[in-house]
């Protein structure tokens, strides 16, 4: 019974979703994200050709009826590579932020809950991590670990752990002083149970909202690393890698940069719009107005 009373009512999620979709700007963001997600999931059926198939005769062909968005320097179909590339962008950004939310959230929660010197030292370490420019940290981590999807996810999640630890810690400092936590302790609940059952539901919304906004950052970071040449190895199609290839042919085939650039923009803008909408919906001040 206590567990039910201590966490937020489930219906609030439905109310939140309703309010979220009633805002036209947020709805536009949801649609943009849905388009990219659909493209990624349906890539095997939507892509007109094999993204790795080379047609040297048709290399650098402009957009037209045969190749809707043109071909690259190896004669590969840009549209097919774009659709398959969406998978890498979504996979890397989602998994890296999901792991940053879990690891950073756990660090912040435990640190805030335990408090004292442990909290002081942990937060000092997080502040040091925060003081590294995230793109530089990501670049160095990938360079040291070697470029693969797993290492890319590790590197990007490392750049986002510290902010999530901070986001999770702040509310825990307030919540742990509340009467229901004290009641839980008096009833002999373990610290783990208090943290997972009674503290976590109170911070999960904040973490999810920030997660959406950070996923936009992760998409940008993944694309940036691929553009520098530190992303998933070719010939696997990635949007950043496609821009890198296009940039080498920018003087005569500028469209090779334009399509993947627009794809990145659509996904990041969509995620930012949704994240912004989520911020407004979950912010008690904004709701009160």
């Amino acid at each position: 019974m206590t567990d039910v009373a201590l966490s937020e009512p489930r219906s609030s999620w439905r109310v939140m979703a309703g309010r979220l979709l009633s805002d036209p700007v947020t709805l536009a963001g949801v649609i943009l994200c849905a388009i990219v997600l659909a493209g990624a999931l349906l890539a095997p059926w939507l892509a007109p050709r094999d993204p790795l198939e080379q047609n040297i005769i048709d290399r650098l062909a402009g957009p037209g009826s045969e190749y809707l968005l043109g071909t690259d320097q190896f004669g590969r179909d840009v549209l097919s590579r774009l659709l398959w590339g969406a998978r890498i962008s979504l996979l890397v950004s989602f998994l890296s932020i999901a792991s940053a939310v879990v690891v950073g959230g756990a660090i912040g929660m435990v640190s805030g809950y335990i408090g004292g010197r442990f909290d002081l030292v942990t937060m000092q370490v997080m502040d040091v991590l925060l003081s590294f420019p995230s793109l530089i940290l990501g670049m160095i981590m990938v360079a040291l670990l070697g470029s693969s999807v797993t290492n890319l996810i590790i590197a990007i999640s490392l750049t986002a752990i510290a902010p999530f630890a901070r986001i999770a810690r702040a509310p825990v400092l307030v919540i742990k002083e509340r009467a229901f936590i004290e009641a839980g302790r008096a009833l002999g609940f373990s610290h783990l149970r208090i943290l997972l059952v009674h503290v976590l539901p109170n911070i999960v919304t904040d973490l999810l909202v920030m997660g959406t906004l950070w996923m936009a950052t992760a998409v940008r970071t993944e694309a940036s690393l691929s553009f520098i040449g530190l992303g998933v190895k070719p010939p696997t199609p990635t949007w950043g890698g496609m821009m890198r290839d296009g940039f080498e042919n920018i003087l005569d085939s500028a469209w090779l940069c334009i399509w993947p650039g627009l794809a990145i923009l659509v996904l990041v803008l969509g995620l930012n719009l949704v994240g912004d909408g989520l911020c407004d919906v979950t912010d008690p001040k904004a709701n009160a107005q």
């Binding site: 000092q124 590294f132 940039f247 920018i250 990145i264 923009l265 930012n272």
Partner: protein
């Protein structure tokens, strides 16, 4: 004020020490032997051992740490494993280019961002506000290499207003300024998007304060209310964001320098990454963090100028 600066300088020492420790650990904790990474799988055990000895990797890790710390504190960041020149010399040659680019981008970001944020706040929920919100979100969504390439396609390749390559001729400052425009705009526009949002929300909060109502009731001119009473009080969060954004700006300058083929720290770090120049990478990380600590210090000091209460 001097006491405040000294106090702040002393407070940043533990952060710098922690940064140095983390840099040292990052390079060593990562799996894999740096000697193999540099020389490749086919290197003989003798050459690998020789390189390990040259890098000091064969010594006890504690000795390596104190050696690194001692040298770093004295400003000696070691010698590049590729060019065999002092790391500090290589960085010092590139640093001014990155600083000029970053400062120009900051100026553009603030000159666009602050007035636009004030304008949006004054027209809350009106068409100007909605347009500003959408444009700022669009600005935030552009990875800098994408906006850089798009600007390059439009203004350099199509309109021929700016050169494709941004490497300035030494000594010719007009040429330097001309070639700085596109890279600085690329970086500055994204920063403006951040600044707009913070200025808007901070201004909205300040404009709702009682002292603004009092000023209005006293008949203070609208212009003075907005700029002197409003903005000067709304600036603290803006300065915080500008300070925090410098970190992102420094990271993004790497991409901008690659896109516009400009000299700077970006080119040095990418070259160090591709050639596995560990001492250079270590040095670059120290310099980047040092820059961020200095910027945080300047941000804290500027609070004192904006809001006299902070000094107390």
């Amino acid at each position: 004020m001097i006491a405040f600066i000294i106090r702040r300088l002393l407070a940043s020492i533990p952060t710098l020490l922690a940064v140095l420790t983390l840099v040292f650990l990052l390079v060593r904790v990562v799996p894999g032997d740096p000697a193999i990474a540099i020389l490749g799988d086919r290197a003989t055990p003798e050459t690998l051992a020789a390189l390990r000895a040259e890098l000091g990797l064969d010594r006890w890790i504690g000795a390596q740490y104190f050696d690194f710390l001692g040298h770093a504190i004295l400003g000696d960041l070691g010698t590049s494993m590729v060019t065999h020149r002092p790391v500090w010399t290589e960085i010092a040659e590139a640093l001014p280019h990155t600083i000029v680019l970053t400062l120009a981008a900051m100026a553009i970001g603030c000159l666009i961002g602050i007035p636009a944020g004030v304008w949006a706040a004054l027209n809350r929920n009106g068409p100007v506000d909605v347009l500003t919100r959408l444009l700022s979100l669009l600005g935030l969504s552009f990875p800098v290499f994408v906006s850089g390439i798009f600007l390059l396609i439009v203004f350099a390749l199509q309109l021929h207003l700016f050169p494709v390559i941004g490497n300035p001729r030494p000594g010719d400052w007009i040429d330097g300024l001309h070639k700085l425009v596109l890279p600085a705009v690329t970086l500055g526009v994204v920063m403006a998007a951040y600044v707009v949002r913070v200025t808007r929300s901070s201004m909205l909060q300040v404009l709702g304060e009682d002292y603004i109502r009092t000023a209005r009731a006293k008949g203070v001119p609208r212009r003075a209310i907005i700029w002197r009473h409003g903005l000067s009080n709304a600036l603290i969060p803006v300065v915080t964001v500008v300070g925090l954004y410098v970190g992102i700006l420094i990271g993004n300058s790497v991409l901008t320098e690659i896109v516009f083929n400009r000299p700077g720290l970006g080119k040095v770090i990418v070259s160090a990454l591709t050639k596995r120049d560990y001492t250079m990478l270590q040095g670059m990380m120290v310099i980047y963090c040092f820059l961020i600590v200095v910027v945080n210090l300047i941000t804290d000091i500027s609070y004192g100028f904006i809001d006299p209460r902070v000094k107390q």
